[in-house]
Each structure stands twice: as structure tokens, then as C-alpha cells.
């Protein structure tokens, strides 16, 4: 069931991202695919394997990038990190998590910027997006911290 939900939600995210692009709000909104990943690595008990991450990145690139590289590479790295890490993602300190999210967002946006000719606002997105992603994660973290502490 969770597998089906994972693929279904990915499809929905693709549609949502297309809507954000069509309404010119993409540049000033958080990266919904990263947020989606954060949700799924947080709320689902078993972390998906590395191949799912590669597939996810590739699918996103297919629909939203001229070259299938920015998301594929970023998601390969995310998948490797999450699968190889000895510590659970939610067990890390908030600062560590925010630094990681910021770095990944920055890396991803720089790749997107260098391989695509998206509409205006791409320059703004490089700075806004890491910040927005971090804020969203902080909100999730603050909300769920008590629950995680019980379960760890």
C-alpha cells in the first residue's frame, strides 16, 4: 500500500509542480519534491531503497528539465546518504538536518540553473528555495519531535 501511495503521490507532485510553473509561483515556492521526500522519509517506517530515489529523480527530470541530470544526481546522492547512514535521519540534530537540506537545495538549484532556461525568477529561487525548504522541515520537526522521542 505504501508503495502505491509513494508512486501515486509522486504523480500528484508532478502535476502540482506543473501548476506552480504555469502560475509563475514556482520560483518563490519550496521544492515540493524535496518536501515530499522529507515527508516520506519521516512518516514512513521503512526508507525506500536507492533505486526508488534514482527513479524518482529521473522521472522529475524527465518532466521538468532539459537534461536528465539535476534531480537524478541529487536524488542518487540523497538515496545513498539515507541508505548508508548509520543514524536515522530524524535522530540527527535540527541544525545538522537544516544544513543538509540547505546544501542539497543549493546544489540542486545550481544544477537546475546551469542546465535549464526556466522562466525569470531562477536566480531568486537559488536563494529562496533552500530557506523555504529549511523552514518547512523546521515546522515538521517542531511538530513531530515529541512523537519521535517516544518512538526512538
Amino acid at each position: 500500500m505504501s508503495e502505491v501511495l509513494r508512486y501515486l503521490s509522486l504523480g500528484l507532485m508532478v502535476i502540482l509542480n506543473q501548476i506552480l510553473l504555469a502560475t509563475d509561483t514556482w520560483a518563490i515556492s519550496p521544492d515540493i519534491f524535496l518536501v515530499h521526500t522529507l515527508f516520506f522519509t519521516t512518516f514512513v517506517k521503512k526508507i525506500p531503497n536507492i533505486y526508488f530515489f534514482i527513479f524518482k529523480g529521473f522521472v522529475i527530470d524527465l518532466f521538468f528539465s532539459n537534461i536528465s541530470m539535476p534531480y537524478t544526481i541529487s536524488y542518487t546522492l540523497i538515496g545513498l546518504y539515507l541508505n548508508f547512514s548509520n543514524l536515522k535521519w530524524i535522530q540527527r540534530s535540527l541544525l545538522e538536518q537544516i544544513i543538509l537540506i540547505t546544501l542539497v537545495s543549493l546544489f540542486l538549484n545550481i544544477l537546475l540553473f546551469s542546465t535549464n532556461d526556466f522562466a525569470s525568477g531562477m536566480g531568486v529561487r537559488i536563494f529562496i528555495n533552500p530557506l523555504l525548504n529549511s523552514i518547512i522541515w523546521s515546522a515538521i520537526f517542531i511538530n513531530q519531535r515529541q512523537k519521535w522521542l517516544k518512538n526512538i
Partner: protein, 265 residues
């Protein structure tokens, strides 16, 4: 969420394999132009719901506009009703009914206001309304009233409408009096709904709020029509016996469209 602790060799193998798969996917998408195809498919796939949503939105907006138009019309009707009721109250305050005339009204003398020259009213001291020509009159001068309230007199008459110069027009004069017996000739001030007259004798007293009626002396307006209320009294600096009286007219041209008026020969 759970993590499995993998041995280093397996990690290395997995990492290598991941990069090879990623590379292969990137290569394949470039080679077969998959990105362009996928993007075209997505646009086509979303085109149908997009059209549907935009159609629904357009219809909703049209529905809302229609609702707004209906409400605006209702508000306008209510405003008109309020205005007419207010006039009726003012009539009763002056001890007469709105439609109780002390002169004979010809049935054919009733007509309707069809337009108001708002631009000249606000900018250029030219205060005009236009009424329908009920009996295809060709010449003559008629006083025009709304019920018991004096409006002005006709100026030019064409086949289908008559131009009415309002009392507030600077070239318009009217003979008026109060119930105390104070008489004066009032002149339009060029300001909206205001006329003024001079008092030189101070023989008869008057005070703020006094209502003025037509005397009928000018031979145009029938006697007893309600004109307005005394709003302001100012003294002249040159002649201490002279005072300027400002009278606010009851007739409001902004609320006049489609109202019934009477022509007095």
C-alpha cells in the same frame, strides 16, 4: 524509518551501481530525447483539466457578475424608493401631500426624466436634465416639477426630448417666499442643489431651516411648489442691511433618472 548497517564493500558496490544506473538513465534520455517527449505528454495530459477548470472559472465569474448586476439593480431601486419616500416626508413636513396640488394637472403633462448632464453639472456651471417630450410639443416654456417640488424650466424642445434648466443653473431665476411672508427672487449659484437670494430690507424675519415655496409671480412656476430649505445666511461687508440667503434645493439630479415629472404651462 529504519536503517540497515551495510558492510563497506556492499556500500561501495551499491554506490557504483547507483551511479552507473543514473548515468545510463541520463544517457538514454539524452539519446532518445525522452525529456522533450515527456514534457509534451505532460502538457497534453494537463490540457484537458486545465481547459475544464478555466471554463468552470469563467462560468463562475459570469455567474458572479450577473449576481452583482442584479444586486446593484436592487440597490438602485431601493435608493430610488428611499429618495421618493424622503421627498414625500418633506412634503408632509411642509403640510402638504406629495401629489396634492392646488392647481389642475393635465394628465398629458406627466413625463419622465431620461438623462442628466453630469459632466457640465460638475465642471461648467451648466445644470441640465433632459425629459421625454410627451405630446410632441414644439415650442413654449414650461415649469417642471417632481410632484410638489420645483425642478426648473424647459429651455429647448426637440421632437423627442426637452432640455430642462435646473434652478441651480446660474442663468435661472425664480420668485420664492416663506410661510412668514418673506419674498425674494432667487438665482442659481452654479453649485449643485444651491440657489441664493438677497434680502435688503430685513423687514420680515427668517431663520435657518425655513422652507421656500414658489410665489407664481414670475408667471412660469405655479404658486405653492416647494423649492428648498434655508441653509446659510451671510451678511454683506459693504451693506450692513444686506444678507445673502443660501437655499438648498430638495430636488437631487443625481437621483432623478426615470423619475416622473410634471410640466406646468
Amino acid at each position: 524509518m529504519s536503517t540497515n548497517i551495510l558492510p563497506f564493500q556492499k556500500k561501495l558496490r551499491l554506490a557504483l551501481l547507483s551511479f552507473i544506473i543514473s548515468g545510463a538513465l541520463i544517457y538514454a534520455s539524452q539519446n532518445y530525447n525522452l525529456n522533450e517527449k515527456a514534457q509534451r505528454f505532460l502538457v497534453k495530459f494537463l490540457n484537458v483539466p486545465q481547459q475544464f477548470i478555466s471554463q468552470v472559472l469563467t462560468e463562475y465569474r459570469e455567474f458572479e457578475n450577473q449576481k452583482i448586476a442584479e444586486l446593484e439593480e436592487e440597490i438602485l431601486n431601493l435608493k430610488n424608493q428611499i429618495y421618493e419616500n424622503e421627498l414625500e416626508i418633506k412634503s408632509l413636513e411642509n403640510s402638504r401631500s406629495f401629489n396634492d396640488f392646488n392647481f389642475v394637472i393635465n394628465k398629458n403633462a406627466e413625463t419622465y426624466i431620461n438623462s442628466f448632464d453630469q459632466m457640465n453639472f460638475t465642471c461648467c456651471n451648466k445644470h441640465r436634465i433632459y425629459i421625454n417630450n410627451p405630446n410632441n410639443l414644439t415650442d413654449g416654456m414650461f415649469a417642471v416639477s417632481q410632484g410638489n417640488f420645483a425642478i426648473g424650466k424647459t429651455k429647448t424642445i426637440s421632437a423627442d426630448e426637452m432640455e430642462v434648466r435646473l434652478l441651480s443653473d446660474p442663468s435661472e431665476y425664480i420668485s420664492i417666499k416663506t410661510t412668514n411672508g418673506f419674498f425674494c427672487i432667487a438665482k442659481g449659484t452654479g453649485k449643485g442643489r444651491l440657489i441664493s437670494c438677497l434680502n435688503e430690507s430685513k423687514a420680515v424675519s427668517y431663520s435657518y431651516g425655513d422652507t421656500f415655496f414658489t410665489t407664481g409671480f414670475d408667471g412660469i412656476y405655479p404658486p405653492g411648489l416647494i423649492v428648498g430649505r434655508l441653509e446659510n445666511i451671510s451678511s454683506s461687508q459693504i451693506n450692513i442691511f444686506q444678507q445673502n440667503l443660501e437655499i438648498e434645493l430638495f430636488f437631487d439630479p443625481y437621483q432623478s433618472i426615470n423619475k416622473k415629472v410634471i410640466l406646468h404651462e
